[in-house]
């Protein structure tokens, strides 16, 4: 079902408009800073507008099918094609990415972090945007891989150039970890290419993700599947990041500039979980069933571990970073159950975590800007110095700890719920244990977030900042934050906005898993 006319262009436009913007900016001399900013914002907003057009035109009745599909030749020699398409799984994440980038641009409008250079900063953000958008719509493994990797370098430079004290170490660590994962991932992609067979037993030799989803790994022997899955697991798991591959994350987050952290948290981590849902599980359901208990185990370890890690932090940003480990643990737990509830919750959790943690990083950035420190013990009384920011921090913290009525809850609760009855062929007792552990994780989440809130927002402002005038939320911050805040509340109140979109796709995935499980 290929799109025609304008619809056949929209996805490519959302993906490449930011890149066009970046190229245009490259032509603009550095001195014309206002023009640079306008072009950057313009191109990303244009992409967003097209994203909204997609959202409107999207056929929600057939959310399980790919829409706006374009299938053109690309690298014929390796049977790789330029295939983009969008279904209910991609749509929320694409929109998240499309929204996040303009917000980040606005946020850094007048204060590009040290050492300045707005032009380069914005170019990198736009390239990043192209990579992220592309990953969510690519329907060819090679195309996916390319987009998946495109984000690496811009992020590396964002952290490395505009980051904090330890930026070189952090950026390199981020890069090496991810690179390692993706190298193994591409091996698995190729293994899929060479080994996938159609139902008649003919070798397919295709990178087309649609086809591979359809054949669902039938024809690849189980032990091989498990190995291939291992490669995918490394590629996506590091990106998520799952325990024990998470150690790049706190460093990267802590050192990254504010918008870097925001994008990292809001979108980049989602590439990994998206990969699981889009590629690993549908392509290799049989292996997924074998792997799921282990993924679940790592996920719940991540939940508890991330929370305990948070409790040990003395730096606000690092704490939020560790909380990502815990939250992505919930997402992975949901995925590991291989059930409708779990995977839907995982997707919801991705979006929710994107907005909430993105928001928290925004605030952390603003706090840093005002206090020039994120040392929790030196902060305090934010509610008094900058009440609005304090309240927003409280709001975001509450959302982050999974308060019902806000978005975070809908990623957490159904994920825990799904572990009670894991998908076909999986050990029930194991997952029920995970369920209880995950539930305990929610308490710890409340613990570290409130503890953070108490020590940063409550109380009297500390002595050392007594003389300083701490500005409250400014205009740019309001513009940048409002969409997230509204989103957190809106999706929290009416989760069907997302569940309804994703459910069809997830149903397809679980159906194929169940079919495989039934065959075993």
């Amino acid at each position: 079902m290929e799109a025609t006319g304008f619809d056949s262009w929209v996805l490519s436009l959302t993906v490449f408009l930011p890149l066009v913007g970046a190229v245009v900016i490259m032509m603009i001399p550095k001195a014309y800073e206002a023009e640079v900013k306008l072009v950057a914002l313009g191109s990303s907003l244009l992409a967003l507008i097209i994203g909204l057009y997609i959202t409107i035109q999207f056929n929600y009745g057939a959310a399980g099918d790919l829409q706006f599909v374009v299938d053109k030749g690309w690298i014929d020699v390796i049977n790789s094609r330029y295939i983009v398409g969008l279904d209910g799984l991609s749509l929320p994440l694409l929109m998240l990415s499309l929204v996040t980038v303009p917000l980040c641009l606005i946020y850094s409008w007048n204060h590009v972090p040290e050492p300045g250079n707005t032009k380069a900063f914005f170019i990198l953000l736009l390239i990043l945007s192209t990579g992220m958008n592309g990953t969510f719509v690519a329907q060819d493994m090679i195309l996916f891989f390319v987009f998946f990797e495109i984000v690496l370098l811009p992020m590396y430079f964002l952290i490395g150039v505009w980051g904090g004290e330890d930026r070189r170490y952090a950026s390199l660590k981020f890069f090496l970890y991810t690179l390692f994962g993706s190298a193994l991932m591409i091996i698995s992609f190729l293994a899929l290419f060479f080994l996938s067979k159609d139902s008649a037993g003919e070798l397919l030799h295709t990178f087309d993700m649609r086809v591979l989803t359809d054949v669902a790994g039938v024809g690849i022997i189980k032990s091989t599947q498990v190995w291939i899955f291992a490669g995918l697991f490394m590629g996506f798991g590091i990106k998520v990041p799952m325990f024990p591959f998470h150690t790049w994350l706190p460093d990267a987050h802590t050192q990254a500039p504010t918008v870097g952290s925001v994008i990292l948290a809001a979108v980049l981590l989602k590439l990994g979980t998206y990969g699981f849902v889009r590629i690993a599980i549908p392509f290799l359901p049989d292996a997924a069933i074998s792997w799921a208990p282990w993924i679940g185990l790592l996920a719940v370890i991540g939940i508890i571990y991330g929370a305990l890690g948070c409790l040990a932090q003395s730096d606000m940003k690092r704490l939020i970073a560790f909380s990502s480990v815990a939250h992505m643990g919930f997402v992975m737990l949901g995925i590991a159950t291989l059930t409708d509830f779990g995977i839907n919750a995982a997707i919801f959790g991705m979006v929710a975590h994107g907005m909430i943690t993105g928001m928290l990083f925004f605030i952390a950035g603003s706090v840093k800007e005002r206090y020039h420190t994120l040392e929790i013990s030196r902060l305090g009384g934010l509610l008094k110095s900058a009440p609005r920011m304090g309240w927003i921090l409280g709001f975001a913290s509450m959302a982050s700890l999974g308060l019902p009525g806000l978005a975070g809850f809908w990623g957490e609760f159904p994920a825990i719920l799904s572990a009670y009855n894991p998908g076909a062929g999986m050990p029930e007792e194991t997952f029920r244990t995970y369920m209880v552990i995950a539930a305990i994780g929610t308490v710890l989440a409340a613990g570290y977030l409130l503890w953070l809130y108490q020590r940063t927002a409550f109380g009297e402002p500390p002595e050392e900042f007594a003389g300083h005038e701490i500005a409250d939320v400014n205009r740019f911050e309001w513009i940048a934050w409002t969409p997230f805040l509204v989103g957190i509340a809106l999706f929290g109140v009416w989760p069907n906005l997302i569940f309804n979109v994703t459910d069809d796709v997830v149903a397809g995935i679980t159906a194929s898993v169940e079919a495989i499980a039934a065959g075993n």
């Binding site: 890690g309 308060l403 825990i416 539930a439 459910d503």
Partner: protein, 727 residues
């Protein structure tokens, strides 16, 4: 109103938004209470309308609202049979229904009225199934609506004076509104997800309001403690609800209850697990042992908040939840057939230690807080022994008199320089007549003195314990009686210290303004008459008003669910009432003698202060006092109250604090040794290994061409040897 009940929580929610976002700028910081009070007024009216409509529904059921029990037998299916059950289950339900009717005849004359359920079906969806958000309104709901709306309204009014000029007046009212909205949302939850949502939201409001004066660390500590303790309970809530979902594959409360009552024994084990888990949630939210320690600390919040949240409404959420999902607990804990069970025991034990702890407090609000703990324990115990109506009835009456007591305490503190330390009060009787009177009335109600509200509800609970369902609950009865005695005693003590004797504080106490005293009087009035809502028929028979007996039982009890369980109601017992009254009166009497007449065991410290305050004791009494002091106090009071207090402060509270600290320490340890040490360390070690092996390999590169040559020829030779041998 019953169909459109969602409007009721919506009003305070809107009020919240309006106050929070437009309060300061458009309304004026000092006038936001008008918005809140208006909203609550509306809510009250609508709640009253809803209540009235519900009574109409019960009295004059519209077609379709009644569950026809006879229909089970003939094949023309009723709705329930169509929807849920199989024939066997329905027969069973019908049989047990008959059984309960015939067996005890406790006036189950009313027809089984279906609750009014209205839903919006697209709240969220999963796996192709759509889950609704909606309202479930029945008698239990409207009862709570009335309670919440009334008390919240009064607290709103009261607060406009009490927190006047507060630095965060706007936020105060905003969150008061939000709390009300959340609580109302909670009570009319149609499914267990909504229960969770409401449950958490009230918790957050509680957190915010306890920490209202967050500049002081103790307040924020208390807020954190409250929230975190509740979160611990929430593990149970979440897991319990998930078990329910896993068992019945639905979130719908109506469906769950109906399914259980249709076939109570079908999922006993799952229900036991679910009930145990949910019990943990109840323990945290409703301050049951051992998770009650947050509640006294929560008194750090403004007093009206304590009255509303930590006495009348939020803390009863646990009780309400048990009542709402009563079939789960009834079946899970086998309440019908046992003579002791976890819920009853926890309730009873909590009631006991709460009462004991109330003795040892000097802070008037803490006394009331422990009293609340104790009374909540009472309610839980009532539910644990199968006395559903008694528990809800007690919830109803307790809300009024405890709110009154708290507001009274607030009034006292308002007068006495914002202190709650009873040692700095005394003799306020003459300065604050209204406060004094309302306080005494409410205290009498709490103590369970005829004919105040508490008497009736407490009596029903004791009766419920005595009779039980199939078996009696003797231990619960003993607990209940002991608590009745102790309650009366500690309330007398409070009144003594606060209103009698000499004023020990600074400045000149004065009566609070009308804005505060009027709510007090309204509540005191309710404390007198609330008992009338569920009078037993023998009381009314002499007046020919049997029709008004057991109104709460008639209207509020969801018999449509409970009938299937075979729940029975005990016959009223005069003997029990007399015993209960006697206990309460003797409690008052003993304490009265102790304080007013200086009789009884006085502690060393008290004795000295009384001496200072001009009390004269006979010389020989000194020895007697000494005797009491050493023998009685050291062996009786300490073991009971002080030991309990110490246990409470050191062990339970310590455990809560230690849990927090331990988590932090564990976190630090894991972070330091596992994360930074083992995991990151191994990564670093790999990096270092690569680096140093790179350095080591550089040695090959000696720069001398003959070394290179040696390597070249040498490796050629070695490779040759290896390949010649292997291949």
């Amino acid at each position: 109103m019953l169909e459109n009940a969602f409007i009721i929580p919506l009003i305070p929610a809107i009020s919240f938004v309006v106050i929070l976002f437009f309060g300061k700028r458009f309304i004026g910081a000092g006038r936001v209470h008008v918005v809140g009070i208006t909203a609550l007024g509306l809510v009250w009216v609508l709640s009253a309308v809803a209540a009235f409509q519900w009574t109409q529904r019960v009295e004059d059921p519209p077609p379709g609202a009644i569950v026809q029990l006879e229909a089970h037998v003939d094949e023309h299916g009723d709705q329930r049979a169509d929807e849920h059950g199989d024939d066997h289950a329905n027969d069973h339900a019908a049989l047990s229904q008959d059984h309960s009717k015939d067996g005890h005849g406790g006036g189950h004359s009313s027809p089984l009225i279906r609750p009014v359920i209205s839903t919006f079906s697209q709240w969220w969806s999963n796996g192709g199934v759509e889950f609704a958000v909606g309202t479930l309104v029945d008698g239990q709901t409207v009862l709570l609506l009335i309670v919440v709306a009334s008390i919240s309204l009064l607290v709103h009014i009261y607060s406009s004076e009490y927190v006047k000029g507060d630095r965060r007046y706007v936020h105060y009212y905003a969150f008061l509104s939000l709390f009300t909205a959340a609580m109302l949302f909670f009570v009319m939850a149609q499914n267990i997800i909504q229960l969770i949502v409401g449950w958490e939201l009230v918790g957050v409001c509680s957190f915010v309001l306890i920490g209202h004066w967050w500049e002081e660390k103790p307040n924020t500590d208390a807020a954190l403690k409250a929230f975190l303790t509740n979160r611990v309970g929430d593990i149970g809530l979440i897991v319990g609800m998930i078990v329910l979902w896993g068992t019945f594959r639905t979130f719908d409360i109506d469906a769950i209850n109906t399914l259980i009552s249709a076939d109570p024994a079908a999922h006993h084990f799952a229900l036991l697990v679910a009930a145990c888990c949910l019990m943990a949630a109840v323990a945290s939210k409703s301050g049951q042992f051992p998770l009650h320690t947050w509640l006294p600390d929560a008194m750090a919040g403004p007093t009206p908040v304590s009255a509303l949240i930590h006495a009348a409404t939020m803390v009863v959420a646990g009780v309400y939840m048990i009542a709402r999902l009563y079939p789960v607990f009834y079946e899970g804990f086998s309440i019908g057939s046992s003579s002791i069970n976890l819920m009853a025991f926890i309730g009873g034990f909590t009631a006991l230690i709460g009462a004991a702890l109330a003795f040892a407090q000097w802070d008037i609000k803490k006394v009331l807080a422990y009293s609340t703990v104790s009374q909540l324990g009472y309610m839980v115990m009532a539910l644990g022994v199968g006395a559903w109506t008694a528990a809800i009835f007690h919830l109803f009456t307790h809300a009024f008199f405890k709110a009154c007591l708290f507001l009274g305490a607030g009034s006292v503190s308002h007068a006495a320089h914002h202190t709650f330390d009873m040692r700095k009060m005394g003799g306020l009787k003459k300065d604050m007549p209204h406060t004094y009177r309302t306080f005494v009335i409410s205290a009498l109600a709490l103590a369970g003195i005829f004919p105040f509200a508490g008497f009736w509800s407490k009596d029903e609970i004791l009766l419920g314990s005595l009779v039980g369902q199939e078996n009696s609950y003797p231990l619960m009865l003993i607990f209940g009686c002991a608590v009745a005695l102790m309650t009366a005693a500690y309330m007398t003590r409070v009144i003594w210290y606060t209103f009698h004797g000499e004023f020990r504080g600074e400045g000149h106490p004065h009566e609070s303004p009308k804005v505060m005293t009027v709510p007090l009087w309204i509540l005191a009035g309710m404390a007198v008459v609330a008992g009338a809502f569920n009078l037993p028929s023998p009381v009314l028979e002499p007046f020919g008003l049997e029709g008004l007996a057991h109104r709460i039982q008639t209207y509020a009890e969801p018999s449509v669910y409970l009938s299937g369980l075979g729940l029975s109601h005990p016959d009223p017992s005069l003997a029990m009432a007399l015993v209960g009254s006697a206990l309460a009166i003797s409690g008052i009497l003993v304490t009265y003698l102790y304080y007013w007449r200086g009789m009884g065991p006085h502690g060393m410290t008290q004795r000295n202060r009384y001496a200072k305050n001009g009390y004269t004791f006979l010389e020989n009494k000194y020895y007697l006092d000494h005797l009491y002091n050493d023998v009685v106090v050291e062996t009786v009071k300490r073991p009971i109250a002080n030991w309990a207090n110490r246990f409470n402060q050191n062990v339970l509270d310590g455990a809560v604090n230690a849990a927090g600290e331990t988590a932090r320490d564990t976190g630090r340890w894991i972070y330091k040794w596992i994360d930074q040490g083992a995991i990151d360390g191994s990564v670093h070690a790999a990096a270092r290994g690569a680096d140093s092996s790179g350095e080591g390999l550089r040695a090959i590169q000696s720069g001398k061409v003959q070394n290179y040559g040696q390597l070249l020829f040498g490796s050629a030779a070695v490779l040759a040897i290896v390949f010649v041998i292997v291949v």
